[in-house]
Amino acid sequence: MTPELLTLGMFGSLVLLIVFGVSLSFALGGVAVAFTLILSGSNGLFPMVSAVFGTMWSVLLAAVPLFIFIGVTLSKSRISRDLYQAFYLWSGRVNGGLLLGTAGFAAVLSAMTGSCAASTLTTGKIGMPAMERLGYDRGFALGTIAAAGTLGIIIPPSITLIVIGMTTGLSIGRLFMGGLIAGLLMLVAILAYVVVYAWQFPGAAPAIGHRVSVAEKLRSLRSVLAPVTIIVVVLASIFMGLATPTEAAAVGAFTVLLAVAMQGEVTLRFLREVCFETAVTTGMVIWIVFGATAFVSVYSAAGGISFMQSFLTDLELSPWMLVILMQLVVLILGMFLDPLGIILLVLPMYYPVVVQLGFDPLWFCIIFQVNLCIGYITPPFGYNIFYLKTISPEATILQLYRSVMPYVALLLLCGAILMAFPAILVEGTAWLTAG
């Protein structure tokens, strides 16, 4: 089979299956099996099983369920509600204030959890009712939550950055630093947009009507301070690198559990529910990794990866054009595919080319990650859109698509800035690492 035919066949049938509603993980695995049988018969199945085992045996991936566990625990505990209450009380009597607080809340939550599910769902569940009471424009509020929720996988910890580290061999600690820089830039952009929009359309984001006394504000901090300090201090110190990512995840999960226990919330029932929910999410994530590694191993063994690499270099574009083209492809894939699937499918082709061109690999990977964040809110397949649909069922999917559009543009701008000024990421991570 020629590499052209192989590429067309494997990716073509993958897209077809996904469009017909086949689960991404099964579609990846099914195509891998089908092409193995076509190319080399049942004797060729060994590499696929080896790929699955390689995933199981990865110490780094053990961090993934632990970070999911943290997110589930926080979303089920009173800590997240108390934290939101504090943001609510402190957000002030200005137009758009509560939405700014909500975005800030999402960012703080992102610094504790590793996926977008926790940041988006929790923010939406707690924040939407409060903002609807105030008469916020629903589309504006939902769009902002969807965008702020994407910070979940770029502000460390992040399961996608872990998988990027695993695929490229880059240090996950340094990737986390880069993610932090990019995530903060995205947060600032989102906040700025909210301020400008609320100023232009005060009716879309009315201020809180009543005065909140200083005493009440201070009281709100008391209930939040203890658990949040513990969580932030522990996580921050381990992200400064006192432990490996997996150890950081375990210590973080343990600390969060302790913090929740200190509030008297940890019952057997609570623990059971957290474990069950973590299990379902982990199963989804890891089985996508199983499918994607099998898919890639078949494609690679049949010469697909090296074909794509020489295809990219033979385009004879200028290095910058090539890098921009690669990122555009990620943006398009992000409309249809899961972020982990994208990482595992394209990064093995991209990475050696990027290194060979002499670009900073960390810089490339963080922009890649920003693109994956955008994928969470681009139609037709965007996790954050689906999450918000479950929270706000009365909003139509088209309304949701429309509400995220300004943010897609905004995040694209962030990506472009990071790309145009490599020093932000390169010098920034160097500075953080030295500090």
Binding site: R174, G241, P245, P352, V355, Q356
Partner: protein, 325 residues
């Protein structure tokens, strides 16, 4: 030519995978060079297809994959198989034994250790072609090591039998994934680590996070290996077998010479540019390490008398002859 008479033009193709990361100088200069060498010398009748780590099977599965036929062979690291083929540890080399290539090749080819190692691999359906010397094992650390006492409580990132020897020396062995090693050194998860020889460690930027290169190397050389599916090997004619054997032995010389260049340059950089120091271990440290290393060898001999036991005896003899014990 193939052993069985076939059409004259028929070429044999072997799919070989390595654990060398793509983009490193040795991926091309050693692994692909070896493949080209064989293909050229057989006039294109035996083509070795080179594959990057993990591109067909995960590195840890390449032995099984070669036995089963998913790969035809591998250019890789024998220490991966010490669990399933204890004799592979001897192929990799024991700490504080060999001082140079000649000693290693004397032990393997002239004393006959390789024959025993081949028997052990043959049991798994694999033909062990032979060792490829890959430079020494150099320890990079935050503290110097002069006496044996300096090992006490030293957290060293290490693996396999080396971990057992260093533990006997009083160190605390730690496992850390390669990608996290730099950060682990930087933040004190570990105090010391080895990643091949000097140039290997420098490729991981150890010079930025350690102060000392500990000399002499813990062993020199440490070996890589070339193995092939047993069936595929037996299908080769004697002429092609000779080519592959000679290419493996030639690669030892080429690899160590190129590593020596990289290592000497590396030491220059470490001392003159990165402000590091060389820490010399006293002769008594190596003597003690030799004893501990042989203790581990004897423990493995007891577990695997059939192969490791016989190789262990040869090793004792080698150590006596060379005056190391």
């Amino acid at each position: 030519a193939p052993a069985t008479i076939a059409a004259a033009s028929s070429a044999t193709t072997w799919r070989m995978q390595t654990h060398f990361p793509t983009g490193t100088w040795y991926y091309d200069a050693i692994f692909q060079d070896f493949a080209r060498r064989v293909t050229t010398a057989t006039n294109g009748e035996l083509v070795i297809e080179t594959h990057a780590p993990g591109s067909i099977v995960s590195t840890g599965d390449s032995l099984m994959a070669a036995a089963q036929g998913a790969l035809d062979g591998a250019f890789t690291f024998p220490a991966y198989w010490v669990g399933q083929i204890p004799a592979a540890g001897h192929l990799n080399g024991n700490l504080a034994t060999f001082s140079n290539n000649t000693e290693m090749e004397y032990f393997m080819y002239e004393m006959g250790a390789l024959d025993i190692i081949r028997e052990a691999y043959a049991e798994r359906g694999i033909h062990q072609v032979g060792p490829v010397a890959g430079g020494g094992v150099t320890l990079f650390g935050k503290r110097p090591i002069h006496t044996a006492a300096d090992f006490q409580g030293y957290k060293i990132r290490t693996t396999g039998t080396a971990a057992r020897v260093l533990e006997k020396m009083g160190a605390a062995p730690v496992s850390v994934a390669g990608g996290e090693l730099y950060q682990a050194l930087q933040t004190g998860i570990v105090d010391a680590a080895h990643w091949g020889s000097v140039s290997g460690g420098m490729s991981m930027n150890f010079q930025e996070v350690t102060k000392y290169i500990v000399q002499p190397d813990l062993v020199s050389p440490t070996n890589l290996e070339v193995f092939v599916n047993a069936g595929k090997w037996s299908q080769l004619g004697e002429d092609h077998k000779q080519v592959v054997n000679d290419a493996v032995r030639a690669t030892t010389g080429i690899y160590t010479a190129r590593i020596m260049q990289a290592d000497l340059n590396g030491i220059d950089t470490f001392v003159n540019k990165s402000g590091g120091e060389i820490s010399m271990m006293e002769a008594s440290v190596l003597e003690e390490m030799r004893m501990k290393s042989l203790e581990v060898v004897d423990e493995i001999s007891a577990q695997d008398p059939k192969y490791s036991g016989r190789i262990g005896e040869l090793l004792h003899e080698f150590m006596r002859q060379t005056g190391k014990v």
